[in-house]
């Protein structure tokens, strides 16, 4: 697999690991006083565990798993609204598979499906649009979920629906943006991060300068990274080098995919279709200003919130998170999943309490599945 397998080369990995260790030692990182690097993106969390990178790198490097999983930060109230829409007669509710198992107070979409709702997994919003074309007597709703990487795809799909004037298609928009929660994290006085590995696929759309404030305003290094293990290791090394030499810059490890200024066509589509919401609720993080997108009034005909009078269109609604769930603290890097009192004691992938245990991107699920907590240290 071109552009994939080259970046999984064990020889180069060993070299990077050795260099990381060198630099870690040079800057005095130790197990007890580690350098704390947040990989913002759940995809990076997943890769770290899949390849066991956390165990391979110097013990003075601690990965903090950030909030960059759109499924994990989805608040219960939004899941409930998905279920409500899906259970309306005549609706075909389409979603990425990730969202099927996230629990709300009325259960998950998978459970709604079992109760009779017509919930279908799709690979692409374009497939949902095609379903709408083929089922003119049904209302097809697409659960628009994701960060800037995914937003252009739903925007372009909506524009296509508008061009074809497909009346029975709408998007339940839950798109969110990466920079605002990072700002919130950095503003938290309790926070102690030394650097960031940035989500490469977000920057593929928005470019690298969206993170300038991290370096400029907060003095933290950030390296925009690809998703293969060598990408991650190289990015960690680049963060460490910045720390070693007292730099705080935005660097681009993933230049093969990420243009400095992002993708203008994608950005234009986002801007045409969406506008910022005043605020949006993040699971575990609460309401964050201007962190969510909504469909512009011009496209209200394809906005499921307007069509069904649900969600923010019906006034904000808050649902309490399950008792004892420490998702918020895990997501902000305050504790490791294993430190949550419910981890493995009531909360497991079979019976997830929080979204972090549901999504395969979630830190808790990753700890569970790949044994971050359970494989005996080598």
């Amino acid at each position: 697999m071109r552009y994939v397998e080259e970046f999984r080369d064990p020889k180069a990995a060993r070299a990077l690991i050795a260099r990381i260790a060198e630099v870690a030692d040079a800057i005095g990182a130790t197990k007890d006083e580690p350098v704390r690097i947040m990989e913002i993106c759940g995809g990076h969390t997943h890769a770290i565990f899949r390849y066991g990178l956390d165990k391979l790198v110097h013990e003075g490097i601690e990965f903090i798993h950030g909030p960059g999983c759109p499924v994990c930060v989805l608040p219960m109230a939004r899941v409930d609204e998905c279920v409500e829409i899906a259970e309306r007669p005549g609706v075909i509710f389409t979603t990425f598979g990730d969202a099927m198992r996230v629990p709300g107070t009325k259960g998950s979409l998978m459970q709604a499906k079992a109760r009779g709702a017509d919930v279908r997994m799709v690979y692409s919003p374009l497939d949902a649009l095609e379903l709408a074309r083929r089922n003119p007597d049904r209302e097809v709703v697409f659960f628009g979920l994701g960060f800037e990487t995914t937003t252009p795809s739903t925007a372009l799909t909506l524009l296509q629906a508008a061009r074809e004037q497909i009346p029975n298609f709408s998007i339940f928009c839950n798109h969110i943006t990466v920079p605002p929660p990072l700002k919130a994290l950095l503003d938290d006085p309790w926070m102690m991060l030394d650097g960031f590995v940035g989500p490469g696929h977000v920057s593929m759309v928005i470019g690298v300068h969206a993170y300038d404030f991290i370096a400029a305003d907060y003095g933290k290094p950030i390296v925009v990274a690809g998703f293969e293990p060598l990408d991650l290791l190289q990015s960690v090394l680049m963060v460490l080098e910045q720390i070693r030499y007292g730099r705080a810059e935005v660097e681009n490890q993933y230049a093969r995919v990420v243009p400095e200024h992002g993708n203008p066509i994608s950005l234009k589509a986002i801007d045409e279709v969406y506008e910022p919401r005043p605020s949006f609720e993040w699971r575990g993080l609460g309401e964050i200003d201007a962190s969510g997108l909504r469909i512009r009034p011009a496209f209200a005909a394809w906005d499921a919130e307007e069509k069904f009078g649900i969600g923010y269109a019906a006034g904000p609604r808050h649902v309490a998170e399950p008792e004892g769930c420490a998702c918020g603290q895990v997501m902000t890097g305050r504790i490791k999943p294993t430190a949550c009192p419910r981890f493995g004691a009531g909360c497991s992938p079979e019976t997830p309490l929080g979204a972090l245990m549901v999504s395969s991107e979630g830190a808790c699920a990753a700890y569970w599945q790949y044994g971050g907590a359970r494989v005996a240290a080598e």
Binding site: V4, G146, S153
Partner: protein, 96 residues
């Protein structure tokens, strides 16, 4: 977040809708190339793109890829040399 995978455009399937067939290790899927067009669609055939949820989101920059790989390869070779030295040192140890 945001699973993305490199694939190669092998054909244009729908000019009007800017759809093309992409190939990922022998798996084919029709994707939108709306985000990566900057000229005639046909020019995309043979190009590598990064695919996410049925959209080609970015063209892969072969030069940048090569640059990164070269750096990694050098590192790897340096490591090999180091490994060999270590091995040599070890066998010397064994002899002692």
């Amino acid at each position: 977040m945001c699973l993305g995978i490199p694939g190669r455009i092998v054909a244009i399937t729908d000019e009007a809708r800017q759809m093309a067939m992409a190939d990922v290790s022998g798996v084919r899927r029709e994707v939108s190339v709306a985000c990566v067009v900057d000229g005639p669609l046909d020019a995309l055939v043979g190009e590598w793109v990064l695919i996410h949820v049925g959209f080609a989101m970015s063209r892969i920059n072969e030069d940048e890829a090569a640059r990164t790989l070269d750096a990694l390869r050098e590192l790897g070779e340096a490591q090999e040399a180091l490994d060999a030295m270590a091995e040599g040192a070890k066998s010397l140890e064994g002899m002692s």
